[in-house]
């Protein structure tokens, strides 16, 4: 295997890894924040360069295919905008004294480590490596969630940690089982963990063993996806951590775990005797959707509200992939991308809202479009998008999911639609209360308009996707949808 002069795959990993080390060493908030942005941007560029140029043969450890390239690009992009948002967010936190410069050094290093972990999980061609990467990303986010060192933050981190650890263990058990299934066919050793090899030979694997493996993987990685009833860590981790991390958690980490589930779904689909993973995923997706939809109503904390909304959307995505078929898979992929962009935009907005209003309690926030029009309308637009209203992109995916489901399995569409509507009602109710009405809460000056740039950039993308999907992107998605079976 010839090593090209510039290997984008390696760059996607190396840049965050190197900057993590660097950031851990460097003092000073201004410099590190800028460096963080720069490193994220470089990573993003590297990810973009993956699209150009021929792809090499899949390596033993790393590889790039149609599926993960989308994930990597999305991941690095949101990672980049989140770092931009984080810069302005962190400044405010420093000014108000919630964080110390010492915290920041740790924070930025962890940020890049997390990016490294997530990118690694995507490009890993080895299910063991993927597992390690997912766990690395998880553990770094655990540390970030506890960053504020408040009782609540530590509590949330602890909950996340314990539940995550069990998830880690179960996912590992599943990984071992996959190896066991592969080993008689592929042979001992490393080959039996290389994903590309596994898919090739999956048809001859012992289906019963694969089934068992999938159960453990679904529960293990599903915990990270935040599927009910494994979701418990998610709302608190989102609510108590720094907002950039909430954005990254919702927008990216959930995708990482989802990606892992998808990989194994493909594996299972390639084995004719195995249990169909579809019904399991459909069931879990629906349960998550409906459950989260109802949970939205009693929320008081704005970040926790959107954390539950993430559970809801993960439910939708898993449901779509569970349904399978070109249309639903396409819709699931699209929904995943749209959700990442939208939800992170919402969290950016929510971060600013919590800062200008000085509270995360929704009851204390109202009339935002009056006091902070730029922020208020951006927030509203984000909620409109996440609620699945056109012309935003989420609508397109929801349109495809619901209509294709109804054409295939009308009975499944009923809980799906009920869940969507229930969630819709809750979101509209809360968003109206926050954005409109007599202004209340703090009237702190708006942050510089430039800090809204990431929000509007995301929303513009979502809007554009709702109106027009460029043919190359559609091509990618269709290929991937085909891969997913």
């Amino acid at each position: 295997m010839s090593v090209p002069a510039f290997d984008a795959t390696v760059a996607v990993l190396a840049i965050p890894a190197a900057s993590a080390a660097l950031l851990a060493a460097l003092p000073g908030y201004r410099l590190t924040a800028r460096l963080n942005v720069a490193a994220s941007f470089l990573t993003f560029l590297a990810a973009l360069s993956l699209f150009s140029g021929a792809r090499g043969e899949p390596g033993q450890y790393l590889f790039v295919d149609d599926l993960n390239i989308v994930f990597v690009a999305l991941n690095t992009f949101v990672g980049f905008t989140a770092s931009v948002f984080s810069a302005s967010y962190i400044r405010h936190e420093l000014e108000t004294g919630r964080l110390s410069p010492g915290n920041l050094r740790f924070y930025h290093a962890m940020y890049q480590t997390m990016m490294f972990g997530m990118n690694l999980a995507f490009v890993a061609n080895n299910i063991g490596l993927m597992w390690v990467a997912v766990e690395l990303a998880t553990l770094t986010t655990v540390l970030m969630v506890g960053l504020y060192r408040t009782h609540e933050a530590l509590e949330a981190a602890w909950k996340y940690f314990i539940l995550g650890s069990v998830g880690i263990a179960l996912a590992l058990f599943g990984t071992i089982l996959v190896y066991m299934a592969a080993q008689p066919v592929v042979g001992e050793g490393h080959d039996a963990m290389v994903w590309t090899t596994l898919v090739e030979h999956a048809a001859r694997f012992d289906p019963a063993l694969l089934n068992l493996a999938f159960v453990f993987l679904l529960i293990g990685y599903g915990t990270k996806v935040g599927l009910a009833p494994l979701h418990a860590w998610l709302p608190d981790a989102h609510a108590e951590g720094p907002t950039p991390i909430s954005a990254v958690l919702s927008g990216l980490l959930l995708n990482v775990a989802l990606y892992a589930v998808l990989r194994f779904k493909i594996l299972l689909a390639a084995s004719p005797g195995a249990i169909a993973p579809g019904p399991l995923m459909v069931g879990m997706g629906l349960v998550s959707l409906v459950f989260a939809a109802f949970m939205l109503y009693r929320r008081r904390d704005i970040k926790r509200l959107f954390a539950y909304s993430s559970i809801e959307h993960m439910g939708i995505i898993v449901f779509a992939f569970g349904m399978g078929g070109p249309l639903a898979n396409f819709a699931g992929l699209l929904h995943m991308v749209m959700h990442s962009l939208t939800k992170s935009a919402i969290f950016y907005a929510v971060g600013h809202i919590a800062q200008v209003k000085g509270t995360q309690k929704m009851a204390d926030i109202s009339g935002l479009t009056v006091t902070h029009p730029g922020l208020g309308w951006a927030f509203l637009l984000g909620v409109v998008a996440i609620a699945g209203l056109p012309p935003m992109g989420v609508f397109m995916s929801e349109f495809l999911i619901v209509s294709s489901t109804f054409a295939v399995e009308p009975l499944l569409a009923i809980p799906l639609v009920l869940g969507l509507l229930t969630a819709f009602g809750a979101l509209v109710l809360r968003a109206t209360g926050i954005a409109f009405g007599e202004p209340s809460g703090g009237t702190a000056a708006s942050p510089a308009p430039a800090s809204y740039a990431p929000i509007y950039a995301h929303l513009a993308l979502v809007l554009a996707a709702g109106l027009y999907l460029p043919p190359p992107l559609v091509g990618w998605f269709r290929n991937v949808a085909g891969l997913l079976g």
């Binding site: 909950k159 314990i162 539940l163 998830g167 179960l170 089934n211 068992l212 159960v215 453990f216 679904l218 529960i219 915990t223 009833p229 494994l230 418990a232 860590w233 709302p235 249990i275 399991l280 109802f294 949970m295 939205l296 109503y297 009693r298 078929g325 249309l327 009339g367 609620a387 699945g388 209203l389 056109p390 012309p391 609508f395 397109m396 349109f399 495809l400 619901v402 209509s403 294709s404 489901t405 109804f406 054409a407 295939v408 569409a413 639609v417 969507l420 509507l421 229930t422 819709f424 009602g425 509209v428 109710l429 109206t432 209360g433 409109f436 009405g437 709702g466 109106l467 027009y468 559609v474």
Partner: protein, 669 residues
Amino acid sequence: MQATATLLTVVSALLAVAVPAVALSRRPWAGTLVYGVSLAASLAGLGVALAALLAGAGSELTLPLGLPWIGARFRIDALSAFFLAVVNLGGAAASLYGLGYGRHEEAPHRVLPFYPVFLAGMNLVVLADDAFTFLVSWEFMSLASWALVLAHHREAANRQAATVYLVMAGFGTMALLLAFGLLAGTGGEYGFSAIREAVRDPAVSSLALVLALVGAGSKAGLAPLHVWLPLAHPAAPSHVSALMSGVMTKVAVYGFVRIVFDLIGEPAWWSAILLLALGGGTAVLGILHALMERDLKRLLAYSTIENIGIVFACLGLALAFRADGMGWAAALALTAALFHVLNHSLFKSLLFFGAGAVLTATGGRDMERLGGLIHRMPATALFFLAGSIAISALPPFNGFISEWLAFQAILQSPELGGWGLKIVVPAVGGMLALAAALAAACFVRAFGVSFLGRPRTPEAGTAREADRFSLAAMGSLALLCLAAGTLPGFVIDALAPVTRLLVGGAMPLQADRPWLSIVPIAESRSSYNGLLVFAFIVLSASLSAFAVHRLASSRLRRAPAWDCGFPVAGAATQYSAGGFAQPFRRIFGTTVFAAREEVTMPPPGDMRPARLSLAIHDPVWERAYLPLARAVDALAGRLNRLQFLTIRRYLTLVFLFLVALLLVLALWT
């Protein structure tokens, strides 16, 4: 340039003007800019639509937007041309009105950016030729109007109205989405042409019809999905209320007609009965609500529900006729429905404009605080009166024509097969007649209490006449109402391509009838001549007035009111809106609305005033919506406990889930 492209240009002009509207909305001339552009765009759209309707030239266009493998398809055929005309006519009138009315707006930056977008959305719905574009436009329209409802967001009632509205809109869209999913099938053929050509089971068609009825009906305000309408329509600025009530509900009707008459094929026999029953019930329920209402704009909104009921009843009739192969009768019923669509958009816009003028002049829309406005606002009063006569389905105005056509259609229905229809149709006929009579009562009350009598508050006494733009908008609509009422033949002829497209038949050509009469079937069966009736009334009234003044007496004396010899000076002694409604409340309200009156009469010697307390319950709201909301809340409360478990319990959940899955594996064969 072909019609579709021109209209899309119009739409993009509307969308484009929203951009400067965001930036400049606080400038004083921004309103002129936005409403001016909207007016021009709507007029252009109206021209194109009318040309397309009369010339019968269809055209289509596909843009590389929307769903990638289908594209955004747009098409104009006779049906969409007619509705485009209705939409743009309403849009033009509202924009003209807005030129003046918009100056009184206290939050222009919350109206101006959304107003042209709303117009654009409505146009797009009618233009769309694939399911995705249709739904995007549909929901886009809801969203824009939602933002407009929230223009005066500081009032809690408006926020609640907006929330209920958007949730109901989402519900309706979901139903439509399911309908399209069903029609498109597993292949994802979302283009209307593919849907139209697909062969499907009648059961599937019927299910799609029910879903379309739920989806479009909830937008149009069909009972029992109407609850949002009287909340949301009045909450918006008045010209937007006019658009929502007069035009957006028509777009909803368009959606229904497009799906049911054009796309789904032949539904089962009971669907016509469903439509008829729902339509008749909606008409009566809506107008009864309106009759009890004291808020002028809410009254108008409830009356919209009534009119939508009439339209849907006619559509049901058309469906029944079409299923029985009676193309000519189906054309008659469909013409009645579409004519009513046009009529309602005219007079409801007019009435909302009037209500808006009253609102601006007096600062209130509670009828109990109005009165005597005819002295201060004579022109507004005249136009409002014209609208009131028209909406009460009285000759010589236009409301009567569609009502008359509907009755003519009902009279053709004994030839229909099926026992259900035989029983439902006459009952619906009775309901429509009842609704018409109640509408007359309702608008006697609305006009009489608001404009006649003496001012009940100082604000009403010092009201100022509306500005000239508003008056021009109202005046032109009033004229159009009269024109459509006196020259209905032209409208009927213009509708012929639409009915031919949808039911394969048309009413006979009316334009060559002597004296411009309208004759639905044959002259020996029925005919009506609005022009002559109008001329006769005017002639005999002026003749008799002339004769009396000339031959008898023309002297006039002004004196205090007689009032049986006991005139009381206070304006509060006038008959109030509540008092006017009392007999109706007694007759209909006790059963339908569980209305209860309670008089607290203090004993003699007690100086407290006697009180009349009145309780009216909306059966639909209390029986359906509140329980639903309570159920959601209760369930949310129950599930909410899951937020507060201990880590061990969460682990237990994981554990149980794992064991359950393993059991599934163990038992799975």
